[in-house]
């Protein structure tokens, strides 16, 4: 295991002091490592990501137990803009760009961590380097961009903050498969060139497992399975429930209705 960049152990998130959304989640992201969190809707993926990036306060939620340490400093329940200052940057699921600002302004707005060390100028080139398409759209207002371009701009703007750990929420939401392929490839090249850790939250396991070194599967707020890419790919349940390859030949609807395979996670 490379030195843990981010270590989350047994955190529990409670909404409005009553509803427990996530319980006992433990995960870690190493330097230059891409980690994926897989899970269906409501599995607690986004809550975990919000817990890490500090954006729980807005909907009256709190980390009630456990701790999150980033490079050996505890950051749970800390102010969001201060967490970003440390180098953890979130690419949110929806509303990921400032619609009325142009692409150039979207890239100029973030507060780069590096700005404190004065290499603001170089960051601009970085975004355009990874996403040349953005350079052409420089003066267009972000609201008019296509889905893929918005995602690129969102990741570019996140890079502007000079992150050490990039949290990407639902990269593939509403995008065509070919666009997802292209984005995941760029993510890997970002990781290789900049040497930053990436925590990817995904519903389409296929895209995630393409580039993830390590992955966790979450259901109902708990981590039910984790392992490196090969282990998950070969795991029968992951294949059936997440990758959609049905075991053996096609079966008629009636058979499936009677007998529903129970998941043997804890094997």
């Amino acid at each position: 295991m490379t030195a843990a960049l981010l270590q989350v152990d047994k955190i529990e998130v409670v909404y409005k002091r009553v509803i427990t959304a996530v319980q006992g989640v433990t995960l870690s992201v190493g330097e230059r490592q891409i980690v994926a969190i897989l899970g269906t809707n409501g599995a607690g993926k986004t809550t975990t990501l919000r817990a890490i990036s500090g954006f729980l306060g807005i909907d009256d939620a709190r980390i009630s137990e456990g701790s999150i340490t980033f490079k050996s400093t505890r950051i749970d329940n800390e102010l969001p803009h201060r967490i970003t200052g440390r180098g953890i940057v979130l690419v949110p699921e929806r509303e990921k760009v400032f619609p009325n600002l142009t692409v150039a302004e979207n890239l100029a707005a973030p507060v780069p961590r590096a700005a404190r060390s004065g290499q603001g100028r170089r960051l601009d080139e970085r975004a355009y380097h990874f996403f040349p398409r953005l350079a052409e759209l420089r003066s267009r207002t972000a609201g008019l961009l296509s889905g893929g371009e918005r995602q690129m701009l969102a990741i570019g703007a996140a890079l502007m903050c000079g992150p050490q750990l990039l949290l990407v929420d639902e990269l593939s939401l509403g995008l065509a498969p070919v666009v997802i392929q292209d984005l995941t490839r760029r993510l890997r090249s970002i990781r290789d060139e900049l040497g930053i850790g990436i925590l990817l939250v995904e519903q389409s396991a296929a895209a995630a497992l393409e580039i993830a070194d390590y992955a966790y599967v979450m259901e109902n707020g708990r981590v039910v399975l984790d392992g490196d890419r090969e282990r998950l790919k070969s795991h029968q349940d992951v294949q059936e429930f997440y990758l959609g390859q049905a075991a053996g030949e096609r079966r008629s609807y009636r058979d499936i209705k009677q007998y529903r395979r129970s998941r043997r996670w804890y094997g």
Binding site: F98, A109, P110, V111
Partner: protein
């Protein structure tokens, strides 16, 4: 109606100036009046827009903060009595500080609250500021121009129209303020961050923008522009403790233009001022009190989000 009035005037005009020339002077003078009143309303309105645009809070204490800026000139004038320049700069700096203090100690607590509570807090702040001003400077008519011993000569513009020096300075200041704001918001980094925070506070925080910093900046800029308006009006025509009501009259100008756009505030100011000046001249002076609000009602029915305001704001409010 207006023709007969114009006709009656020209008949009695002194014979030396031709009829055509006098009518031109009147029209020029009306234009100058509209320009001066328009820039007063626009300068005040941009204070409302600055705060509303970023933090969706309508600052009903803007009139009182404007007045506080003018009274601060009295205080600084006695401190630096000799050089008015430093006294004015000190007063402007103080009001900048007041804006930040007001946000940090009062409005920051109210960010999560509902719209009505936030508006009422600003109203309570207005009452508090008015009480303190009357307490320290009494409700007497004061003259900052006399305190700074600067004169206010009347300048003759081309075509015989006249404008007082401080009104001219006020028009110039308004243009300068709007220019500076345009550049700051368009190109300045912090300006972009203010626009970003205004559109989507959550995403702005995720991009590392310290929202409290942006809101404090918006409040201090707003009290700065408010103080400028207050000081220049006080230098032009004296200062009483009933100046906040003028702040309230400038509010329709901000709303007619659209509460979250500066171009709107500028245009709104000119529209309301134009309507007021022309109505005073051609119809009935008494209407000038109600005109801003009639324009407001008309605009609210036709285009509630104002001339330049963004529509989606309406639903989110």
């Amino acid at each position: 109606m207006s023709w007969s009035r114009l006709g009656r005037l020209t008949l009695r005009a002194p014979s030396t100036t031709s009829r055509f020339q006098l009518a031109r002077t009147i029209r020029l003078q009306l234009a100058v009046n509209i320009l001066v009143l328009g820039s007063i309303y626009a300068l005040i309105a941009c204070g409302y827009v600055l705060i509303y645009r970023v933090s969706r809070v309508l600052n009903l204490a803007h009139g009182e903060l404007m007045m506080l800026g003018a009274y601060l000139v009295l205080a600084t004038a006695s401190l630096f009595n000799g050089h008015p320049g430093i006294a004015l700069a000190a007063a402007i700096l103080l009001s900048l500080l007041t804006g930040a203090i007001v946000y940090i100690f009062l409005m920051r607590k109210m960010t999560g609250e509902m719209v009505l509570a936030a508006i009422l807090t600003t109203v309570a702040l207005g009452i508090l500021v008015r009480g303190i001003v009357i307490l320290i400077w009494s409700a007497q008519q004061q003259y900052p121009a006399q305190a700074l011993d600067v004169s206010n000569p009347s300048l003759v513009l081309f075509g015989g129209a006249r404008i007082s020096m401080w009104s001219a300075v006020l028009v110039a200041t308004t243009i300068a303020v709007y220019g500076a704001l345009f550049i700051f918001l368009r190109f300045g980094r912090w300006g972009m961050r203010m626009r970003a925070a205004g559109q989507n506070p959550l995403l702005a925080a995720q991009r590392g923008i310290n929202l409290h910093g942006v809101y404090a900046l918006a409040w201090s800029l707003s009290t700065l522009t408010g103080a400028l308006a207050g000081i220049l009006m006080a230098l032009d025509s004296g200062l009483t403790s009933s100046m906040p009501v003028i702040g309230l009259k400038a509010f329709p100008a901000a709303l007619v233009g659209g509460l979250d756009s500066f171009a709107g505030a500028l245009v709104g100011g000119l529209i309301v001022a134009g309507a007021e000046v022309l109505l005073i001249y051609y119809v009935d002076p008494l209407l000038s009190d109600v005109v801003p609000f009639l324009a407001l009602i008309a605009m609210l029915i036709v285009r509630p989000w104002g001339v330049f305001g963004t529509r989606e704001d309406l639903d989110r409010v």
